[in-house]
């Protein structure tokens, strides 16, 4: 028996209320987990994606290669149907040259470890140079606005190390990257240095999207490493003469054609009820996007493979979806919603994995109270496999648009301690994924998809 003694009465009651059979389901979920932990090819598929394709930023040739590769993998996994959904995506390119330095009051120079933020404009050919002003909060930015004109603004937002869920810290500090440069431009800044959104201290800069407000000038923006941010902050405390120079030649080309990849097992009883499980296929251009989000893609394909391998005929239609353009536009998610609407599809549930291929801990749900009450009754089925929490709130940016048509959403929430060490950086490579952690996430996802396919939502 998988449940703890004290919970038996409660669970028994919930079973009666929701009509599912704890025993039968726990046996089936054990089969699913055993199948995934023994025979999954998520890890070997991820190696192929990372090493044979590698980075796959929206608009790149590599993205198209990844589409072809994962289409093939979905067929091999046993999807009845595999097809593509077209969408137009932003096509930002980094270019070759990225360099910068700070120039201390006495003239001493210190080379920066930097990388342009996605969507940033490039600098003029000889770069930009200006005095640096440090900003530690958005309130401070507003207070110091008169001093900002003509300067390079250094957003030194440290990610709070005391949040055990590191995504909370990312949410708190992320505005420095997403909106900081444009808000600085509003007050006349000429450029932005943004402290990388990482908690650990090292020399590796982390990219990620910045969003320009069209009302203000578009100024060049780069991320600097956390070590550089600490150093620069220390130097600025000594006096206000510190300057920075940096040069980038990134630019945005006309929108490019891209595709979502969809693999489907048609439901045996209620084929019109669609269940989606997915991750995003695009990555940033600095590395292999192994954890962000090769892992979610391969886990989603594995869900289909495990269902087929066990001979399960899901009552409802199960779709694994590789979304386009999560990182800098979200056009894949929009296209998926638009197709759902124009085809009048009935999307009952969607599950996303886009928080890294780490050991799973919980699922978060964006759903009605009635739906949440239904799934919470399943929670203890997952306890033996490391998922001990079903929380309210969760999903993912690719499936998020489906809320518009009332779809219940869920997100896999793996342990988040290591995620921001590698997020959007050169270190997001295959070698930083654990096979068993990846598979355990896929196993829990497959179990949840199975339950929804049996009992609906």
């Amino acid at each position: 028996m998988i449940m703890k003694k004290g919970l038996l009465i409660v669970v028994g009651f919930l079973c009666a209320a929701t009509g599912f059979s704890q025993d039968k389901d726990s046996v089936m979920i054990k089969k699913i987990v055993d199948e995934v932990m023994t025979n999954a090819n998520a890890y070997s598929n991820l190696r192929i994606l990372c090493k044979q394709v590698g980075q796959r930023i929206s608009g790149s040739d590599n993205y198209n290669k990844a589409v072809a590769l994962t289409s093939k993998m979905l067929k091999e996994a046993g999807a009845d149907t595999v097809y593509l959904q077209e969408c137009m995506v932003p096509h930002w390119v980094r270019g070759k040259k990225e360099k910068g330095e700070i120039i201390l009051t006495g003239g001493k120079k210190y080379g920066l470890h930097l990388t342009a933020l996605g969507n940033s404009v490039g600098t003029p050919a000889n770069g930009i140079s200006a005095k640096v002003i440090e900003i530690r909060s958005m309130a401070e930015l507003e207070k110091m606005k008169t001093e900002i004109k003509g300067k390079i603004v250094f957003f030194n937002f440290r990610m709070d190390p005391t949040n055990i869920n590191t995504f909370r810290s990312y949410g708190q500090s992320g505005v420095s990257r997403t909106h900081g440069p444009s808000l600085a431009a509003k007050h006349g800044a000429v450029g932005a240095l943004v402290r990388s959104l990482a908690i650990n201290l090292n020399d590796i800069p982390h990219t990620g999207v910045t969003v320009y407000n069209d009302s203000f000038p578009k100024i060049p923006a780069v991320a600097i490493s956390t070590n550089d941010a600490e150093y620069l902050s220390k130097e600025l405390k000594k006096g206000s003469g510190t300057k920075a120079w940096f040069s980038t030649d990134c630019k945005t080309l006309p929108d490019a054609k891209a595709h979502n990849v969809v693999g489907e097992i048609r439901g045996s009883e209620f084929p019109e009820e669609i269940i989606t499980v997915g991750g995003h296929l695009d990555s940033w251009d600095l590395a292999e996007g192994a954890n962000d989000d090769g892992s979610g893609v391969m886990q989603s394909i594995e869900v289909l493979r495990a269902i087929k391998a066990l001979g399960i005929e899901p009552k409802r239609t199960v779709r694994a979806v590789m979304f386009a353009n999560e990182e800098n536009g979200g056009r894949g998610g929009e296209a998926y919603l638009n197709e759902a609407k124009s085809s009048n599809e009935k999307h009952i549930f969607a599950l996303e994995s886009d928080a890294g291929g780490f050991t799973p801990r919980s699922f978060g749900f964006s759903a009605t109270s009635e739906q949440f009450n239904k799934v919470i009754a399943w929670k203890d089925l997952f306890y033996p496999y490391g998922v001990y929490e079903f929380s309210k709130g969760g999903g993912g940016s690719d499936i998020g648009p489906l809320r518009e048509i009332g779809t219940a959403l869920a997100g896999l929430q793996p342990d988040s301690q290591r995620y921001f060490d590698i997020h959007h950086a050169t270190t997001d490579v295959f070698e930083n994924v654990s096979e068993r952690e990846l598979n355990l996430g896929a196993a829990n996802m497959a179990a949840l998809i199975y339950l929804v396919s049996e009992y609906g939502m």
Copy 2:
């Protein structure tokens, strides 16, 4: 509030029964966790141990260097007293040459990735050579005993990938390494090839101790990589002509002097009641012993540092102990018990971390029902920090001897998915430890030690 709504009534009741104040404690535990997640030096200390000392097998000069280094670290952490406890330890040395191959029926040779098991005797200078026989269970060994004479026994015990707690699989298959060679010798085998105790497939062999039964000849025993085990098994299925040859020159020298390192903060109210937190300082000789058990050592020192940094004056005496010789003898743990007995010390509680510096999930307790009921009331205080389970059974091999004098024991149980990828292998290096995971383990350990120091056991 850190607890879930539904539990409030139950927890309230338990508080009344055990006399602790959930509110005050949750505030203090938050302070402890924040301190560790913000200011811990467990990770930088671990880097020093791994990179400045490295491997530190019992009896080696490096072990003595690690004693000096951690003594210094304990003083810097703020221990009132730091002292050593002497013990005599086995002194096994690997020697230089380890090589081997299998020779297929047609004469084709295949080089093996192998490493001698700890405690193994070496081969004659020109190695040993014999036909290979594969054994997949101890029952099979007994059944095939007449066929074993004169052969090299290949213990091909696969670790079961379906146990989510990988230590369970280690427990199931571990007998192949610890007792297999001697049991094979009982039936006349001349050597043993033992499949590495790892779940993933690669070319890296994992060492670990084998235990000889003095009633039988001591035959040379090596671990081979999981890839090699798969290959060898496949070849053996084709016919019985496959031979193996291997050569090692490991040997056991006379026992050497070694020390436990003890750092203590004396209790302010009940100094005679001793609480131990520890890990083992020795490692296997193949790598840095970063996860096994540099991480447990540094977490234990961090517990002391955090207590001092926060100005906590623990009511009971808290000791961080770096145990000698866990890997191949357990003499450090024995010496600790002997000292406790001869000094008539009152050891109320001991906590060990020796399952890797991975993200924490639970604590396991070996204690009386009364003691377990006392600690289980604290469980929800840990939930916000990733520890959601207090289970019965647990501790560690270094603190295990203290059961003889009635000490309640506990073991930190971190996520186990990655542990056996690196356990006892060349890959157990600093780079495979995550700073935040290590710290989060230390934070939970510090919280538990704090509660015991306040409320006793």
